[in-house]
Amino acid sequence: MQPTSPQFKQNARDAIADDPLQAALAKLAVGFPMRRLEAAARLPEFEGLRDQARDIKTHVLENLDHYLEAYEQKVTESGGHVHWCRDAAEARNTILDICRKANAKTVTKSKSMISEEIAVNAFLEENGIEPVETDLGEYIIQLRKEPPSHIIAPAIHLSKEQVAETFRNAHLDLAADRSLVEPRALLEEARAKLREKFLGADVGLTGANMLIAETGTNVLVTNEGNADLTNNLPRVHVVIASIEKIVPTLEDASTILRVLARSATGQDISVYTTFCTGPKRPEDLDGPEEYHVVLLDNGRSDMIGSEFHEMLRCIRCGACLNHCPIYKSVGGHAYGWVYSGPMGAVLIPNLIGMEEAQHLPNASTLCGKCESVCPMRIPLPKMLRKWRERQFKAEIGSPSARWALKSWAWLAKRPALYRMAMNAGVAFLGQIGGRGRFRSLPFAGGWTSKRDLTAPSGDTFISQYHKGVRGDQSGALKRKKVHG
């Protein structure tokens, strides 16, 4: 998709003015964090598991080449094929080739952020193949031609009325008098449509929550069971996954599963957790005849060893989104690309470029809530700051803000001059700020457009203190009495 990240400010304003979106975000803001907290409270070893999960991925990233090769060998031994793809275009073409060889007309898909990242749906359509999203949320946004607004709840921005309207527009055989008021009715409507697609699909395309090196297995975590119908029913199963999804062993996978759902939705474990290894064996009752893994780099190997290395531990649980006050204010679409929230603000500049995504690392108060809930303990605020450093070095961003910052820093490094300038400034503002605050002030519009600005009292603390002023007199001191 064409990123709208450069228009982040406008996107944010639009999002704040969008009432249905705000209602949805308000619900998310309460629900997910509360359930995560309850799930963590039920499991005394939760914090310890976070450490273990982090350590597993840290170890993998230090030995990624080794585990990727071991993984490939196991996939091959189990009768599957691994396709190494450097970038999105290679991955799209690889998937298209597999589909063409299978004479595919329809491809069912279970939710995959990597498939969003490489924009495979539009590409398949251009090439005469129909992709059908089978995760309910993804199905809805596919009908609406929208990107996901949340990595685990892609249609979280929509109300059920908007979903009903979407179905009425897209399902032309839907009787006008059929009620779609209840969520259950919406579910049944989607299920009936998707059932036909599941049965008719030639290729099933899934993502992978993890790839297990010791067995050549991909792990799929869903709450709807749609991934199972996607990987089992069609003749060909294609897994699209990025290289950092590797974990060494089944044991490691189960450790990460224990923090994944708890962090994401507050479930102890997702409703479906599926392990797929290779194509159907002769003794199996079902399964695909072909099993392919499209392993995508798309910039990840450049992140290894960089200041964004630790971002590769991310397991896409969405906890940082659910707890982020910025995400909860503007939702996912404002970020302007596939990912969103704190993890998006770190990852997107890596994938679409620092200049296009320049707002994202800046649109944060660095409040640290994301890091405090991240199951993989990724230091997200630190990495947002790293992007700001890179931007500052590359002189990206407003020249006037840069100039103001440099001037202030110049002064802050010269205490005597700083003192003189501040004393004068504070005395002046103290003189004109007799009402205790300003409703507007030149050069402070960013502040006073939304809030009053406290006026200084007229003399700095340091200057008063060194004049011998102490304690209780300070409040009444040097403040002009205002009449009327």
């Binding site: 809530k369 070095k393 802050a412 605050r437 502040w447 009053d452 009292s457 700095t460 603390f461 203190y465």
Partner: protein, 262 residues
């Protein structure tokens, strides 16, 4: 807890307190002296460098960090009436100076003896009561850096609970960011407004007459929004209440405020 009952404390007053709200500085001095500290206020301090550091200007941030280290490394402790400035010194100076082993060692040494005011009083000096009185109900906002970088949560509440006549009523979102974020609030005013409105609504819902916190940035943001919306909740730094210095007008209020009188 401190072995030394009368440590030499360098007060890092913070630029906002210095310029905008000197009473917080006086309150801090009083609280530290009452706790037995010998307080010194170096006159050549300016700012901790956060605006530069958080804007990606690492070179200037490192220069400022070195200046602060030189000024303050001789004291037994460095205390700031701010979680975010103390957090800057404790957590981020060692990061900013990590490239130079000699400066890193000095940054780490300073970090080890730098504290936010209320955690210093409580954790280091063992203060359990400050002998102040305040007639009213307050609610407390946990500012992000203090809470998540320095683990400050119980200390201010324990100290405030000792204040005669004061009762605390907790909001539901005390740990949620107020939307200040330094330059964030002027760079992204729409998002900041949304966040501070949520904070203000949470404060209003407590029914408290006064909101307290340990960081002037958050407090000026919250006060500015409350006042823009015409909400008569007073805003003060917790140190003012703990030191019994509430004769001065609350943040953003004129001397003869009709809202005055706690």
């Amino acid at each position: 807890m401190s072995e030394n009952k009368n440590p030499n404390v360098g007060l890092f007053v913070t630029c906002l307190v210095d310029l905008m709200r000197p009473v917080v500085g006086f309150a801090t001095v009083k609280l530290l002296e009452d706790a037995g500290c010998r307080v010194d206020v170096p006159a050549n301090q300016t700012c901790c460098g956060q605006p530069a550091y958080n804007s990606g200007d690492k070179a200037d941030a490192s220069d400022i960090a070195r200046a602060v280290i030189k000024t303050f490394e001789g004291y037994d402790y460095v205390v700031a009436p701010s979680g975010s400035c103390a957090g800057m010194i404790k957590d981020h100076y060692p990061e900013a100076l990590a490239d130079n082993p000699a400066w890193l060692a000095r940054a780490e040494a300073l970090a080890a003896k730098t504290y936010e005011l209320m955690s210093f009083l409580s954790d280091v000096m063992g203060v359990t009561a400050t002998g102040a009185a305040f007639d009213g109900t307050v609610t407390y906002h946990d500012s992000c850096s203090g809470l998540r970088e320095l683990g400050i949560k119980e200390q201010p509440r324990a100290l405030l609970a000792s204040v005669d006549g004061l009762s605390i009523t907790e909001g539901k979102e005390t740990e949620t960011c107020c939307g200040f974020g330094g330059l964030f609030c002027v760079k992204y005013p729409d998002i900041s407004e949304k966040m501070v409105d949520a904070k203000v609504n949470d404060i209003i819902a407590t029914g408290a007459g006064t909101v307290l916190a340990g960081d002037l940035g958050c407090l000026m943001n919250i006060a500015g929004r409350l006042q823009r919306r015409g909400v008569p909740v007073r805003v003060r730094h917790a140190a003012e209440v703990l030191a019994g210095m509430t004769a001065a007008p609350a943040i953003g209020e004129p001397q003869d405020s009709e809202m005055g009188g706690d």
